[in-house]
Symmetry: D2
Subunit: 341 residues, 4 copies
């Protein structure tokens, strides 16, 4: 059976496996102090246009969000996020476990709006009782969002300006960053993101790695002793080489972007197939995740032949489903899909 | 200047002060193990119709919410509350500091609806990814609510039934409990509340005490070693007598209810004055807190002669203000108020 | 039965009760913003010789330790304390609940030694793996200690110097501060303590108040938004007046020192009685807590006539007991004690 | 340069890499729900003689300790551990971050003694103030210990009996479990450990895997919704296959034991070399970590030719160093070492 269930259902890009094999016998120091981590850091800094950036490698997305957010917030602060944000809904309280509140605000197609963020912060400071409330201490957003949508350069710039005005950092969750950067409609480059955000991470797990996320503190805002933060959250890998080698490979000869482009190309073709077959789109997503509205009856039949994700109930008779592409999606997969539909 | 700013701007009921004086020289054990705490517990159990209930005395409301909620939730659970709930907005993250999320849901006039609670829990369990989400582990509500409104017996019963169905405790924040119980429209007695809720607290601070809240675990649901929970949250008073003597006095000869009735009577008279003077009510509150819509211009003049609380902006030209009565509000205060208005 | 069980078994100094009565009807703002809190702050600053100090009022000792320590530590830091320190043993993990480790080191008669503190910090930084360890971020000590012993000016100065050298704050727990300051052998004044420590608290609960501890941030080291820290720990009293009035009274006409001197005088007389009766002292305490070694057989008889504290087993046949004096100890109590012994 | 620095300086056993390659294209569900995780669980249960055991895969040791301990302790409990235990010293406060205290007690050669554990718990319950203390809620120990030493079956049985008596779980940290099981002197089998402990983990990272630890809840003591605990601690790997495939391989045809035996054999040969060369042993370790006392002068020379770990200062002129073997240590490495020494 073919699968479009998510972008983490297959292993890793062959080049990564190959590098793991080639370096397997090398004796290397642990905890991210090896030459591959160093090389990966160097290449990432260059790709971001931030020669001074601090770069750290963690294992997974929830872990990364929890460690970054808790290390950057003051004790009395919370993080502003969309109600549909990953940290709001799907991380089982990994921010709250660190003692911090997620300050959930409204979103449009999964995106925060600068005006909403600004209004929220202003109202906070205008409230006479704000000493009895959680201080807004950071803005968290995803690029692409949970819905596969993208901020424009203008939108992200406006949000960054609100953050600068109130002197709170802007954190961009890039679990699927590559798919955003390589999207046909995107006008944000990696350098733009590094310039606009205080911290962000380049997702590996969902973009062709076995695991791993690269956190980039683009500005002079890196929390003191961040390695210690990682360690106490159980996020410091002993064989850090596993992460270093993967990111070194991903940022050699543009592999990260190549993988992402491939998935976007597959997604665009998949969109065409769904369009041709007369399916309704739940929303217009320019990235590797596509959301369709399917009749429940049809759904049951589809499930027998292809795997995909259930998103939410649309109405009594319809369901929203998610189809995702990845490094391993092939033209053949798409042909099969077309036949099935 | 007269003040209707809140119900905690004056000291304590004279009978409490008198008892503190009479008992001052007595040698008593600390940490709530004295005869006055015991007597207060006995009288509260009787008033609640719960001979088996566990009763504990804490100092303030935020502290009580934080200790009760964190001691009853499992690590992976959060507490359902109204978006406007005290724990959601005005406790500076005192629930999150314990590692738990406040699961905020919509409210009507400050009240949770059984149907919303049920829908929230059902959707949680229907979600295929609920292992990646915060489990709903408790329902929190206030009686009266932040807006001075009251649940009917029917409404509270329905919410309690949802809690029973999903086997999660129902916690009632009674910071202003007396004002609810003595409200003219209320159909819930203290015994009803003890029967319907798993845990609740009888507020002292806002009902005539210097400080103190009495937590009642009405059912066989009291967390093991609750005193230890209190201690580690810094909520165990060394001179526990201070709380015991106050609650013993409040529950002797019905003082708690007398104080509450007095404030309600004053509030009803105050309502009449505002009505007579043509003021608009923001909502219909049957308790000691009243909310009026006042023109901003008029507001400035009022502020020179009487203290009251600012609630929120109504529109460009109007503001919602709060006037509260308490044990110490007098007929004279009301006469002054009438003249000023 | 007479009692020397502890210094918090009776109510409060009559002057405090009197002031509570006199001010009871006054309308005052909540949360520590009233004129009595302000007056108390002013008088405490003056007594400390710190016109710039920030002063906050909390309810109890464990709460104060937890809030002060967690608000001053960075996320990855712990607090150095004696193994026998109150935060190490008797606060049920109130520091750990905030996510921080108590770094327990050896003590002598309840006291930290500057050399031990220095050695601990040096070894930490020499350890190649210190990024995998909890950073020493603060030194906590009590004055008097759990054993009623006192640091000399020289000893406290040396510890303060170690703290300055490593740029970590020194926190002095003064739950029984008055008894230390008024001890006959003490060479540390309140001004010395304010000069040497970054933060300390002046204990009220155990020195004649109903409750309350005054935290003094003597230097420019006061954590941002400390009131918010208090609030989220449930440590911000709604009727802050209760604390303000007490500390205003304690620091008017030297009442705090008078109460403390009285207890010390009673303790010295008590020591003489025990000496005369041939009792062995467990250690030499110059403060209001005295520790004696009593035969177990004798203990049983004593218990029928006088209350005191059990400290620890001394050997199979003997027990260490604690006798404490307070504001309410009288000459008559001592006469009775002499007869009993 | 050859290296005996630690057991995690090389990659992974070739068979693991091979399996990762073979399975790379397979479409598998995430989060540990794949067939390889299932197979690994089945094989581990069988190897442990626990057909009912719950088995979970996490990424690293500190993470595993933090998640297991916090999920099994009640809020008011701490975990008993040796002062030299990994959770006490070298995890940067990863237990405290979850709100729990590590109750550190004395050790002998890195090992807890049943009598010390029993005494600690007894003294706790005898203390009149134990409601003001952290409850002992679990015993943590490592097998092998930090010093490479091993508990005998008798010793572990005695500790387990103390745990049963006080109804607290026994948790065995098996980061290097294989090296203990395959040690020549060991009399504990994997089945013994599963029978005596309530929970333990089988370390992968330090025994030939790229990463991964397999937690085994041997008894009916597995915390409810453990996957949710993992998720909220950021310890749930999206591509759980990475862990499943590794453990499936390690527990196929006894590879885990083969790897461990190899390292032990190499360690025994290394011991002989050091003995022959007249080196002093710091303590008698029967596992893959060996500790030698070396003159500081000699140390400098050694460092130029071989990598090893610094353990601690022995005296002014000597240092304790650690030499570790692993899956990748070869006879050739040992020959080189002999020449160098």
């Amino acid at each position: 059976m073919i699968s479009f269930e998510s972008d983490y259902t297959t292993g890793t890009h062959p080049k990564i496996l190959q590098r793991l094999m080639e370096t397997n016998r090398e004796v290397l120091p642990g905890y991210g102090n090896d030459v591959y981590c160093d090389a990966a850091r160097r290449k990432i800094r260059e790709a971001c246009g931030c020669p001074e950036a601090d770069v750290f490698f963690l294992v997974g997305g929830t872990q990364t969000n929890s460690v970054v957010i808790s290390s950057m917030l003051r004790e009395y602060e919370g993080v502003i996020a969309a109600k549909t944000g990953h940290v709001s809904l799907h991380e089982a309280g990994a921010v709250e476990i660190t003692g911090h509140k997620v300050l959930e605000i409204d979103q449009v197609d999964g995106k925060l709006e600068a005006s909403s963020v600004k209004r929220f912060i202003e109202q906070f400071y205008q409230d006479e009782n704000h000493e009895h409330m959680v201080f807004p201490g950071m803005v968290y957003l995803s690029y692409p969002t949970e819905y596969g949508t993208l901020y424009t350069k203008k939108e992200l710039t406006e949000i960054a300006e609100v953050c600068r005005q109130y002197e709170i950092p802007l954190f961009l969750d890039g679990a699927r960053l590559g798919y955003g950067l390589m999207s046909q409609g995107a006008d944000l480059s990696l350098k733009d993101i590094a310039r606009l955000c205080d911290v962000f991470y380049i997702g590996g797990t969902k973009v062709g790695a076995l695991c791993g996320e690269a956190v980039v503190f683009a500005k002079n805002y890196s929390p003191k002793h961040f390695v210690n933060h990682m360690k106490r959250h159980g996020a410091l890998m002993a064989k850090g080489r596993v992460l270093g080698i993967q990111f070194d490979t991903l940022f050699t000869d543009g592999l990260y972007f190549e993988i992402s482009s491939h998935a976007i190309e597959m997604a665009e073709k998949m969109k065409d197939i769904f369009k041709k077959k007369g399916y309704r789109f739940y929303l217009e997503s320019p990235t590797n995740q596509q959301f369709f509205i399917v009749e429940n009856e049809k759904l049951e039949k589809l499930k027998e032949k292809v795997r995909f994700g259930f998103w939410e109930k649309y109405d009594e008779a319809h369901t929203v489903v998610r189809f995702a592409t990845s490094w391993s999606t092939t033209e053949e997969d798409l042909k099969w899909l077309e036949e099935i539909l």
